[in-house]
């Protein structure tokens, strides 16, 4: 018995030694990494739950990108903490271009809200900004509030009566809510959900009174008559829902924060080799350009953007400045945007 164990241990040790040397000269240089990329599956991490806009866009885009890049794109949802779980996860993976973050605008606020240390600016590099959209304020079809003024007045008269469903701190609804509370002095109670899908479900079930989601996520329900969109957070009505008034119609004072809205983008770890990043950007650019995907975007009510490089970085920066300062001025943030050198957007 003892002897047997000894033999086994020897086998294992020998095997381990043999491998050590193998590994040492198995090193490959950077150029090889780029030319052989991708040699395995690429993980696409979606920062929101199933059924939300980020999810739908990611899952529609994935197969087209797969054809372009010649490797499988395995999409996974890692929802929670306003996307910070997914953001942290992608940041923790090696910067080899095999883990991509499919995300929305939320990480722009992680630092000021003290949710996470991560930010798009310091930890990631955009592969592509796919599309942008607008936020809509929605209520259920049987809600007593026919327009935004009625809702805001009700929230002023009975503070903390109406429940506003959010998707966690720093999510789209929480910024819209900050806008309503800061500028219009209305007060709501908030209940957070895992994403736009779950919060829409909660609104359908009457668990929350009002919420704000991307126009695209609500469109189907608005068309079917289940939801009523009281306003779209923009300075003019949008093409996909021309009957919905712009928020500035009733409250022009919101105008100074606009244009502002959610966007959908793909990011990679900041230290991703340039060659790999170029390959990815190229693949996504071509994929987003296909008529097929454009049709999906149109179906979703999202606006085609497809920008990358410096243009994309500037776009994300501008969005961060608007959101962070708006929340800060509403007293919603834990820390001042100044601490993180987030520039304030000057009013034009």
């Amino acid at each position: 018995m003892k002897k047997n164990i000894l033999i086994i241990i020897i086998i294992f040790v020998l095997a381990a030694c043999g491998s050590e040397t193998e590994n040492a000269d198995g090193q490959v240089d950077n150029e090889d990494v780029t030319s052989s990329y991708p040699e395995k599956n690429i993980d696409g991490i979606i920062m929101w739950g199933e059924g939300g806009a980020t999810d739908i866009i990611g899952r529609t885009l994935a197969p087209i990108v797969e054809d372009e890049i010649g490797s499988s794109l395995v999409m996974q949802n890692k929802a929670g903490a306003a996307g910070a779980i997914a953001t942290q996860y992608v940041y923790d993976q090696s910067a080899d271009g095999y883990t991509l973050l499919f995300g929305a605008e939320n990480p722009n606020l992680y630092q000021v809200l003290d949710i996470s240390e991560r930010s798009y600016q310091e930890d990631f590099v955009p592969v592509s900004i796919i599309a942008n959209s607008f936020a809509g304020i929605i209520v259920k079809e049987d809600s007593p509030y026919e327009n935004l003024e009625e809702l805001v007045d009700a929230a002023k008269e009975n503070p903390n009566e109406l429940i506003f469903g959010t998707t966690g701190e720093g999510g789209l609804p929480s910024v819209v809510l900050a806008m309503l509370q800061n500028e219009l002095k209305s007060e709501f109670r908030t209940v957070p959900y895992e994403g736009e899908g779950p919060v829409s479900t909660a609104l359908l079930g009457g668990e929350v009174d009002v919420t704000s989601v991307t126009v695209s996520a609500a469109q189907e329900y608005v068309e079917s008559g289940d939801f009523r969109m009281l306003a779209v957070v923009n300075d003019e009505p949008i093409d996909s829902l021309p009957d919905v008034p712009a928020i500035t119609d009733a409250y022009p004072e919101i105008g100074k924060y606009l244009p502002w809205g959610p966007f959908q983008a793909v990011f990679a770890h900041k230290d991703t080799p340039t060659g790999v990043l170029e390959k990815l950007t190229e693949a996504f650019e071509t994929a987003i350009e296909t008529d097929e995907f454009k049709e999906t975007l149109a179906n979703l009510g999202m606006e085609y953007m497809n920008i990358s490089g410096q243009e994309a970085i500037d776009f994300v920066d501008q969005n961060r400045s608007t959101s962070a300062w708006m929340l800060y001025e509403a007293g919603e943030t834990e820390k001042s945007p100044e601490e993180f050198n987030i520039p304030k957007v000057e009013e034009e």
Binding site: E66, G80, A81, P192, T201, L204, E220, S224
Partner: protein, 499 residues
């Protein structure tokens, strides 16, 4: 008439018929292998079938979905390793049956009642989808809370007499389930500052460790002491009369399964657990006590988790809301093929709805055929000598836990759970409550906090438990269950009997 035509499409089109059959068969295999999940299988097919016709892709994916959920029970019964979370409950009595030499009967029974559960799920989907989806979306946070708490009450029956240890294990499971970033408050919990723990503990990894690895180690004892060899009783195919005895139970748990499956926040694993609980409460004369190989104990969870598939398809097709991770992938498939899953889907593409109902029916029929045909192949696993079987299962457990996320850290987690599970078994700590806690803990946490945040203070929160019909019913069921598990009730019943 048109409906019937659409319904019969998959039956009459040879290609679709073949695809459903192939999908079901592949699903059974995928489901039976620990570490390969239905979600992985369907996700794989999504990218594989991208350029296919919509119907072809859906036929194959539906086959894998039904086959996969069913396949999970094979490994649960034969080697005490649930192939997927929804077959956790099947291990409670399935494995003891197999240990007593009744593996063949267990496999046959679960096949037949998975079929019945699956068919009932499809029937409800076909005739009552709009109604069920209304109930499902009106299910409030309090209701989820009560449902999860009802599930947690199972601890009592899973503890096998060691109540304090069982409750402790469930508590530990809940804490494990809560590890990671808090999705409501935003802070991190029990991560000890570790970034690895930020993403939480994958619960399939926990199951692979606590059931799979721990069981391998525990079985080693028999190898060491050259103890009992697995027995396999010769069993005749169960008679119709024998099967009919379980029909009422399977119908009840199937209806439960459809309803729970239809809830956007709960799926097959909770359906199976509550189905098991229901069987335990209502079975008058089980052939053996539950937990030692009761027939009802394998029938109920399997009927429930297969009927939950029909349930999960309901919110998907009526509202565009996924009922679980697999149906979320179906949403992607519909989008990719140019459809817009949402409240208008049924109106705009009614043919699609009936084609799905038809394919699902077909998948269940194939499930019954293949399930019964391959019993004799699966059964051989039991007769393989432990010296060969255990190392091979160990490899599958290791590779399976790695494959979930391509992460070696997950494998170490699995080993950790394995050794903990082994010592728990040795020291008579029941392992099942721990898994129960991991599955249900997060649901209790989020639903409790959301329900509380949605009400004004404690008083309002408590009143909420009695002022809506669904919640009131669940509250009553909850207290009745607690009451019936305590001694007072048994004493009362005995007294009444005497009178």
């Amino acid at each position: 008439m048109e409906i019937l035509q659409d319904f019969l499409v998959p039956f009459l089109n040879f290609r679709l018929l073949f695809l459903v059959a192939a999908g079901t068969f592949a699903g059974i295999i995928i489901g039976a292998i620990p570490g390969l999940s239905v979600t992985m299988g369907v996700a794989l097919l999504l990218s594989l079938t991208y350029s296919w016709e919509l119907y072809d892709a859906l036929a194959l994916m539906l086959g894998v979905y039904f086959g996969g959920v069913f396949g999970g029970s094979r490994a649960a019964i034969l080697i005490n390793m649930p192939g997927s979370p929804s077959s956790v409950a099947t291990t409670f009595d399935g494995y003891p049956m197999s240990q007593k030499g009744e593996a063949k009967l267990a496999l046959t029974l679960t096949t037949i009642f998975s079929f019945i559960g699956g068919i009932i799920g499809v029937i409800v989907l076909a005739v009552a989808a709009p109604l069920v989806s209304q109930i499902a979306i009106n299910f409030a946070q309090r209701d989820y809370l009560l449902l999860a708490m009802l599930g947690l009450l199972l601890v009592g029956s899973l503890s096998k007499g060691a109540n304090a240890k069982g409750i402790f294990a469930a508590g530990a499971g809940i804490i494990v389930g809560l590890v990671g970033m808090d999705s409501i408050g935003g802070g991190s919990r029990f991560t000890f500052g570790s970034l690895q723990l930020m993403n939480g503990v994958n619960f399939v990894v926990a199951i692979l460790g606590l059931f799979g690895m721990a069981e391998i180690l525990y079985q080693m004892k028999n190898v060491a002491s050259k103890g009992k060899v697995s027995i396999l009783k010769k069993t005749a195919f169960p008679t119709i009369a024998f099967l009919l005895k379980f029909l009422p139970l399977s119908l009840r748990v199937s209806i439960m399964g459809v309803l729970i499956g239809a809830l956007p926040g709960a799926g097959g694993e909770i359906a199976a657990l509550l189905g098991y609980d229901h069987a335990k409460q209502t079975a008058k004369k089980p052939n053996r006590p539950f937990g030692e190989g009761a027939h009802e104990g394998v029938i109920a969870p399997e009927a429930a988790n297969n009927s939950a598939i029909g349930g999960a398809l309901i919110p998907l097709l009526t509202l565009g809301i996924p009922g679980d991770a697999v149906t979320a992938i179906f949403i992607g498939a519909l989008f990719i093929h140019g459809l817009q899953p949402g409240p208008l889907l049924m109106e705009q593409s009614g043919d699609l709805f009936w084609m799905i109902v038809g394919s699902a029916t077909l998948a269940n029929i194939f499930l019954l055929i293949f399930g019964l045909l391959v019993v004799s192949i699966f059964i051989r696993i039991v007769t393989v000598p432990k010296q060969i079987l255990l190392p091979v299962i160990a490899v599958i457990t290791v590779i399976g836990s790695y494959a979930l996320n391509n992460s070696v850290t997950d494998v170490y987690w699995m080993l950790g759970f394995g050794i903990v599970g082994f010592f728990m078994k040795v020291h008579k700590f029941p392992v099942a409550p721990l898994v129960l806690g991991i599955i249900l803990g997060p649901l209790v946490d989020t639903s409790f906090r959301r329900a509380y945040m949605g009400s004004e203070g404690m008083g309002d929160f408590l009143i909420g438990f009695v002022n809506s019909p669904i919640t009131l019913i669940l509250t009553i069921v909850f207290f009745f269950t607690i009451f019936s598990q305590t001694n007072i009730f048994t004493k009362l019943k005995n007294k009444l009997k005497k009178v």
